[in-house]
Each structure stands twice: as C-alpha cells, then as structure tokens.
C-alpha cells in the first residue's frame, strides 16, 4: 500500500505509514452492479493503489475529518473487524463464517470511519472536487436526500430539472457511502475481482464477508439521471456466451458501450440496404463511378492479392454470428455495433464517397493519370456502348481517350482473364488504362534571324509559293547616326578640295606609257563592259583613257559585252572624244559598234570579223559603210585592247579568250576596285609570270593617277577622279574608325555577352 503523503510503500495490513505515520487505508472496491463485462475486468487492488498517487498528486493538504460526517454503519462491520489490528487485539485471524473467505488484502476503511472519510476525500481528484464544500458531506447528503440538488454536481454534470425530478433515489443506507463517492465514475468501471463477477451485487467476496449483498437498485442506475449521457452506463447487456471472448478485455470500458450511449457524431447512419445503390446525386460528377460491369465482363476475376491493404475489401462474412465476432476483433464496439446491423456485403463495406453509382458517364474522366496503367492498354476489353463520343469531351480529356477507334472493336477481342492494375480499385478503377500522347514542351532556342533564314529557304524550295514576307527592319538610331556622319565626311572634301598626299602608282604609269607609245595610226579596241551601277567608278577611268587616246590621235573602236555598255560607250565617246577634239569624226577615227551578245563567243567573233558579226553600228549605220572598219576588220588588227570591266568576270573572259589566242595583242584594263584581286594574277609583273595584262587602272584612285599622269595644261576638262580622291580618303578613314570603335565596343561588352548571342553567332557562322 502506497502512502499518499510520503509515497512510501507499506504493507497492505498496515494502518499507518511506517515512514510518516499517515493513516492508511485501502481503496475499497466499488460495489456497483455494472454490466458483467466490467466485472470481468482483471483489475486488482494493487493496480488501483498504483493509480491513486497520480490522481491525488494535486491534493494540496490533507483534509481534517469532519465530526459531522457520519460514520460508516457499524452494523455492517463485524466485531472482529472493529479491533485495533486487522486481526484483532490478539493478532490472530478470527474464524470466518462458513462460505466466506477473507481476502488477504482486506480494505482498512472498514476499521474506522473518520480516518476513512478523510482518506476518501484525498483520493478524489481535483476535477471531481465540488467547489469549497466538503465533498464527503455533500455527497452523503445527495445520496441521502430524496431530491438531489443540482448544486452538488458541477455545471457540466447538472441535469435538466425535468430529468432531475424523475430521479428515484436509491436506497443508500446499506451501501457503503465511500464507495459511491470516493471514486470517480471512470474508476467505477474497474472491477478488481474477476472471479467474483458472478455475484449478484457485483461485490467481491471480501465485501460479501462484511456486509450482505446489496438488495436495492443498482447504484449506477440511481446515478444515471445525474450523469451526462456519455457517463451514463447502459443496461448490462447479457453476454452471448458464459465465456466471454478475451478480445473484449483489451477494450477499455468506456468503449464497451451500447449503441445509445454513443454521441450523435459517432452514431452511424442507418444501415444502407444492400439492395439499394446509393444515389448518384450524392456524389459530385467527378466522383461518380460507373458500375464495374460497365467496363469489364462479369466473369473477369479480380485478383485482390495485388491490391494494397487499404484498398482491399473485407472478407465476406459467412454467417452473421461469426461475422460479429470477427469484426469485434478488429473494430471497436462502437463500430462493431453498427456492423452487426449491416450485412457483410462487399459493396456495402465501401464508404459513401467510394460508392458506385448505377450508371456513370465515363470512368475515363474520373480516373487520374496515375491510376492508368500502360500495360493494360493492349489487352483491355472494348469500351461499352455507353461511352460518350469524343466530341463531347473536352480537348485534354479526349486526347487520352481513344474512344471511337476501340469502341468498335468486336467483343471477341477481349481476353478471358483480365489484367489487373496494381493501382486499380476492384470494381472501381479496374478500367482500362490509356496511354496519353506524349507531349513535350516546345523550346525555341533559335536566334532571331532563323525565321528569316527559314523563310528564304522555304522560298527556294517552293518557288511558286508566295514570296516570304520581308522582316520588318528594326529602327536603329545607330544606323541613322552613321549615315549622317558618312555623308558629312564625304561631302566636306568634295566641297573643299585638299589634295591630300597624292602619289601616282606604278600600274597607272605603265598603262600611260603603253598608250603614250602608240603611234597615231594605231588601232585601239576599247570594250565598255560595265553597268550603270559601276558608272561612277568606271566613268572617270574611261574618260581619262579616251582623252589620252585622243591626245595620241589613235583610231578607236568601241564594243561592249553588256547591253548597257553600248549606251555608256556612246556617252563617253561623245563627251571625251568627239567633244574634246575636232579631228575625231565618227566613222573615220572613232566608231561605236555597241553590244554583241555571246560573251566568250562574242569575243571570238570580234577576233574574226567585226563587220560580219556586228552588221551595223550603234547608230544603225551598216558596218561595211564605216571607213574605219575597212582597215580595222577584227580584234586581230588592234594594236591595243583596253578592257573596262566593272566586274571581274568580264575581265577574265577577255583575258582567256584573247590573250591566250593572240599573245601579240597588248591588253590593259581599267577595272573597279572590287575587281582588283581578280586582276592580280593576270597583271603581276613578277618574273616568270605570263602577264596577260600589261597594266591595270583600279578604281577612282587609278583614274586619279592616270589623270595625274595625263596632265595636259591645255585640257580644260575637270579632273573628276582627282577631285573625288579626297572624299574617298576621308570615307576610307571613316570606315576604319568605325571598325575600330565597333571592335572596342565588342571587347568591352564581351563579358556581358549572353548565351543567346553566342547561339546567334554560331547560327550565323553556319549560315
């Protein structure tokens, strides 16, 4: 026995604590006539003793016994128990009456009344203490008065007045008062002596020894009107068998309640008849599931072994009694009670939110993707006829439901054994799974110019298609600034000539020497092979050369391999020859034969017979009527051939077709600056080279050099090339500066270059 004061364990027979002298008494067992299930609880007195210290730990002080408290009925205490010792003054165990066994742990409260009362008060926990009124006294009054006052109970234990008026007070005089009050209600459920459970009053033998069996109404019945519903003990239900199942012993007593004791929120609804399917309107559409037979043949077995436990259905109960027992092992009574009323049908075991309606539109709409199995797709049975058409579905859903194609498959294609989806619910999610089309996010990491390139490429592949739309040029203030700056840089030297550092080159001097060496009877063939686009660059060259030829009084025959060349030749002849020298008469010293198509073939034709192949000159005069052509019949009669080419291809034609066949014909060229690299192989003066071109005049600079060489003080014509040379110098330096600043900006911004810029560079390089 544990001392409530000093927590010292003392023998069960001790009256006072061996350590602090505290009066000890054993907690009396409650002699309530509760249901037999409680009486069978294997609690012993020792267990109760262990629980008491924790319950009375919050008790601040020991309450002195009140003298007004009535002592226990002495009449109920046998004489041998009224002695000081447990076995009387003699220390010998008295002789018990026949049929009565005295327990080894006799409750000491039967010895003295006041000490016992005080101890009982200490045992009560705080939550059972009623305000400041001595508990014991008031509790006794409650039990002894006909009408129990509601003040005796806390507010949460008070009953309505109507219910209190109907309370029939029990007979309490013969009932040991401490038993009714010293223990809380939850302790009343504990029965220490299972072996004595069969007694009528529920009292153990050691109580039957000291008092007669309680003959009044059960105590719990008397207290039931005073207690709330959840504390009210129901009527003892008879056990189905004398030997109660052991599984009930593991259930706490507060769970071993009958159905009416359960609160409303724990009350199960009325059992749903198994023959009635739940209404489909209860569930939202997305939870509505069709009947499993709508998707699978009825003969298709369901392998529950593949299902997880939480999805598995309970075993079908073979018989109601066995089912009750089986359920009681795994379910608490409050669920077992409801289970007894329901038939153990498999669909009924599902909660409402998993119930299957009779007809659901389509399970494909409900099943999430993670429930779909790809492996079942090939062997899944065909869709039922009730499948909705694809047009009724939304696009994302219809994309994963191949309805139309497979719904028409014959039923014979269905396999006998239906594959089981490991994630499928039996009868619910055993629907066929579908493979959703793989959709990969499109990532466009192409440079900005790629669409333009693609449009150009498409135009090449599809020439009949509409021309690609030209990309909208982005407004660039930089381009505008550069344009205006270039205009200023070029216009300034044109308006204010400066003659910066002009040094005549060697190539122009060589050409000048060749022409200067021509006798006045020499025949010179000049081919005007440039277009209008190169006219500003080629015209000064042609003008400088023709003026020099005029000075040398040589015969000039003009031809052309491009259509525009004839007109350009005519303009140059009129301006540089006919207008500068009166000695030159058209047809006698100068002739313009114009354009001859055929390129290489035309050159070959010129080398054969000019009159024959031309027929007429530029003016329409028959070639045979021109006096100059009577002695200048072909290119072979020319002392000098001057090729004025705006493009390198024309120069190559003349070189390959004329110089190779007639090596004795001297040929010089006046070309644009862009054609100079292509003229270098034919004009190089390196020893050992063939040098088809004896001299080359390149661009404006070459024209200016030739003007410088052909310095005639008597020639009033302006020197166009020399005047443009300053503008060209300024323009060239400006471009060099632009390149330098552009690269400086590029180097400074290299660190902050993004990845997209690198991709653009790579794509531009590949293009």
């Amino acid at each position: 026995m544990l001392c409530p004061s000093c927590q010292t364990r003392n023998p069960i027979t001790g009256k006072y604590c061996s350590s602090c002298g505290f009066a000890l008494f054993a907690m009396p067992p409650v002699a309530v006539d509760i249901q037999p299930a409680i009486a069978q609880a294997p609690l012993t007195l020792t267990d109760i003793e262990d629980e008491l210290p924790s319950l009375e730990a919050d008790v601040p002080s020991f309450a002195e016994p009140d003298s007004t408290v009535p002592a226990p009925p002495t009449g109920a205490i046998p004489a041998f128990a009224a002695d000081a010792g447990p076995f009387g003054p003699t220390g010998q165990m008295p002789t018990l009456p026949d049929g009565i066994d005295l327990l080894d742990e006799a409750p000491p409260w039967i010895e003295t009344g006041p000490a016992q009362d005080a101890a009982v008060e200490r045992v009560l926990p705080d939550w059972l203490a009623l305000s400041d009124v001595p508990i014991f006294v008031e509790r006794v009054e409650v039990l002894s008065t006909p009408a129990p006052g509601p003040l005796l109970l806390p507010s949460w234990l008070n009953l309505p007045e109507e219910a209190a008026a109907d309370v029939e007070l029990p007979y309490v005089e013969t009932v040991p008062e401490p038993r009714a009050t010293e223990l809380p209600s939850w302790l009343l459920l504990a029965e220490p002596a299972p072996a004595q459970s069969e007694t009528v009053g529920g009292l153990p033998d050691w109580l039957e020894m000291v008092e007669p069996p309680y003959a009044g109404p059960p105590l719990d019945t008397a207290l039931q009107p005073l207690l709330p519903d959840w504390l009210t003990l129901p009527e003892p239900a008879p056990l189905p068998t004398p030997a109660a199942p052991d599984m009930r012993k593991i259930l706490p007593g507060w769970l071993d309640l009958a159905e009416p004791v359960l609160p409303d929120w724990l009350m199960l609804p009325e059992p749903i008849p198994t023959t009635e399917a739940p209404a489909s309107g209860v569930l939202p559409d997305w939870l509505s599931l069709p009947e499993p037979e709508a998707f699978f043949p009825p003969s298709a077995p369901i392998d529950e072994r593949t299902l997880p436990e939480w999805l598995s259905l309970p075993e079908p109960a073979p018989a109601p009694p066995a089912a009750v027992e089986t359920v009681s092992r795994v379910l608490p009574d409050w669920l077992a009670a409801a289970e007894e009323t329901a038939e153990p049908a498999a669909p009924k075991a599902l909660p409402d939110w998993l119930s299957l309606p009779e007809q659901s539109p389509a399970i494909e709409h409900v099943i999430p993707d993670w429930l779909l199995d790809e492996d079942i797709e090939e062997t899944a049975p065909p869709e039922p006829a009730a499948e909705p058409v694809a047009a009724e579905l939304e696009e994302p859903v219809s994309a994963v439901v191949p309805i139309a194609a497979e719904a028409q498959e014959p039923a014979s294609t269905a396999v006998e054994t239906e594959p089981v989806d490991t994630l499928a619910l039996p009868g619910i999610a055993m629907a066929r799974s579908f493979r959703a089309p793989e959709q990969f996010p499109v990532r466009h990491a192409m440079p900005a110019q790629t669409p333009d390139y693609a449009s150009v490429f498409t135009g090449i592949l599809q020439p009949d298609a509409e021309p690609p739309v030209a990309p909208t040029p982005h407004p660039s203030h930089r381009y505008t600034f550069l344009s205006f700056l270039l205009i200023i840089v070029i216009a300034f030297p044109l308006l204010v000539p400066m003659w910066i550092n002009f040094q005549p080159g060697q190539s122009a001097a060589e050409v000048f020497k060749i022409i200067q060496a021509l006798p006045p009877t020499a025949n010179v063939l000049v081919s005007f092979d440039w277009t209008a686009g190169n006219d500003d660059e080629m015209a000064p060259i042609a003008d400088a050369l023709l003026r020099h030829l005029v000075r040398r009084q040589v015969k000039i025959v003009a031809v052309s391999l491009v259509p525009e060349g004839a007109k350009l030749a005519q303009r140059t002849i009129e301006q540089s020859v006919l207008a500068s020298s009166r000695s030159y008469v058209y047809g006698q010293r100068v002739v313009n034969l114009g354009y001859l198509p055929g390129n290489e073939a035309a050159i070959q034709a010129m080398s054969v017979d000019l009159v024959r192949y031309y027929g007429v000159d530029y003016r329409g005069t028959p070639a045979k009527d021109l006096p100059l052509l009577k002695e200048f019949k072909s290119v072979k009669n020319a002392d000098l051939v001057i090729e004025l080419a705006g493009e390198p291809e024309m120069l190559q034609k003349w070189v390959t077709q004329l110089s190779a066949r007639y090596p004795g014909i001297v040929m010089v060229a006046g070309i644009s600056a862009t054609a100079r690299p292509w003229a270098e192989p034919f004009s190089s003066n390196v020893t050992g080279q063939s040098r088809q071109l004896k001299g080359v005049i390149t661009g404006i600079r070459g024209a200016a050099e030739y003007e410088w060489e052909n310095n005639d003080p008597n020639d009033p014509q302006p020197r166009v090339a020399l005047a443009a040379l300053d503008a060209q110098s300024f323009g060239g330096v400006f471009l060099v500066l632009v390149i330098v600043f552009g690269n400086l900006a590029h180097l400074l911004s290299r660190g902050s270059r993004t990845k997209g810029t690198k991709d653009l560079q790579r794509s531009s390089t590949r293009s």
Partner: protein, 207 residues
C-alpha cells in the same frame, strides 16, 4: 532515243568543231564552220535576251492582273519598258539614238542605278560597325587585313609608314594566291563540264 541521242550528238559535234577551229589554223572549211557556229551563238544570245524580256513581261503583267501586293511597281516597270522598246524600234525613230531613249537612259536609268549603288556605302558603314568584329582568331586576322588594305588604298592612309607596302603585299601575295587557286579550279571545272557535255554524260541542257 530521239529526244536524247540527237541532242547529244549535236552537242558533241559542235563542241568538237569549235575545239578544232581553236586549235587548227589554215583550214578554210573548218574556219568557216567555226565562224558559223559562233554566229549562231550570238544570235541565240540575242534571242535569250528577248526571252528574258518576255519572262519579265509575263511575271509582272500577271501580278498587275491579279492585283497582287506591289502591283503598282510592276505596272510602272511594264509601262516604261514597253514605251522604251517601242520608241527604239519605231521605223525612223533613230534606234538607240532616239532622243527620248537617250534622255531616259542618261537622266533616269543611270541616276537610279548610281543611287542604289551609292547606298552600299551606308550599308558597308553599318556592317563594318556591327559585323566586322574580332570574335575569333580567324575573324581577327580578317579584320586586321581589311583595315590595313582599306587604309592603305586611300591617300590619307598612305601617310602611315609601312602601311602602303603592307597593303600592296596583302593584295599581291596572299590575295592573288587565293584568286589564282580559284581561277585554276574554275578552269579545270570548265574543262570537265565541257567534256561531260560532249560525251553525253551531262544532259542538263535537255531539261
């Protein structure tokens, strides 16, 4: 057979005739035959020019008839082209010496072409700033060579000591070597193409 053999035989015979006329001198018959073929070539070239004129008329007249985007420019092109042709071929009009044709060429055609060509200066300036960057070792070499040649070709750049010589060397040695290689390749390709045509292996002209 007729569609392939006869054209191939004609091509082979004409090719051989022109080659013989080029390499053999002194044969009057061969010379006359060769000159006749050259005359055919010039006539075919003139017809090719007429064919090009007809193709331009077809494309732009169709665009005008269908009122496609930009049809107004096609209308101007067709109108001016037909007007110039008519003025040039009119009997007694003077041909190329017709004053209207001469005025149109000198004061419309040439200025327009010169304007388009002059725009290259601005394009070059913008491209030099944007694209002429030293992004790689190869690009760096190209940029440096371009700057040296560009600066060495203008009188102002020739004031820099050594720059004119460097510019001329770049043009005379590395650039000429590359161009010469290209010209040799083109010449070999031309010979190969001629042999394929004469042997009948290449019949693209039949398409």
């Amino acid at each position: 057979m007729v569609r392939k053999t006869v054209p191939t035989a004609v091509a082979l015979g004409v090719g051989i005739l022109v080659l013989l006329n080029f390499f053999i001198e002194g044969s009057e018959y061969l010379h006359n035959a060769g000159e006749t073929v050259l005359q055919w070539v010039t006539i075919l070239g003139a017809f090719a020019l007429l064919l090009g004129i007809g193709n331009i008329l077809r494309v732009h007249v169709t665009r005008v008839a269908k009122a496609q985007p930009g049809w107004i420019y096609s209308f101007v092109l067709v109108t001016v082209m037909l007007f110039v042709i008519v003025m040039g071929v009119l009997p007694g009009g003077g041909g190329l010496m017709n004053p209207f044709v001469d005025w149109t060429f000198n004061y419309v055609f040439l200025p327009l072409n010169a304007t388009i060509f002059s725009l290259l200066a601005f394009f070059v300036a913008s491209a030099a700033f944007r694209a002429f960057r030293m992004r790689s070792p190869e690009a760096t070499v190209m940029v440096l060579a371009g700057v040296v040649v560009l600066a060495g070709q203008v009188p102002l750049g020739r004031l820099v000591p050594g720059l004119p010589e460097t510019s001329d060397w770049l043009l005379s040695v590395p650039a000429m070597a590359a161009v010469r290689g290209i010209l040799l390749g083109v010449a070999l390709g031309t010979i190969t193409a001629g042999l394929r045509v004469m042997s009948g292996a290449d019949k693209q002209y039949l398409d």
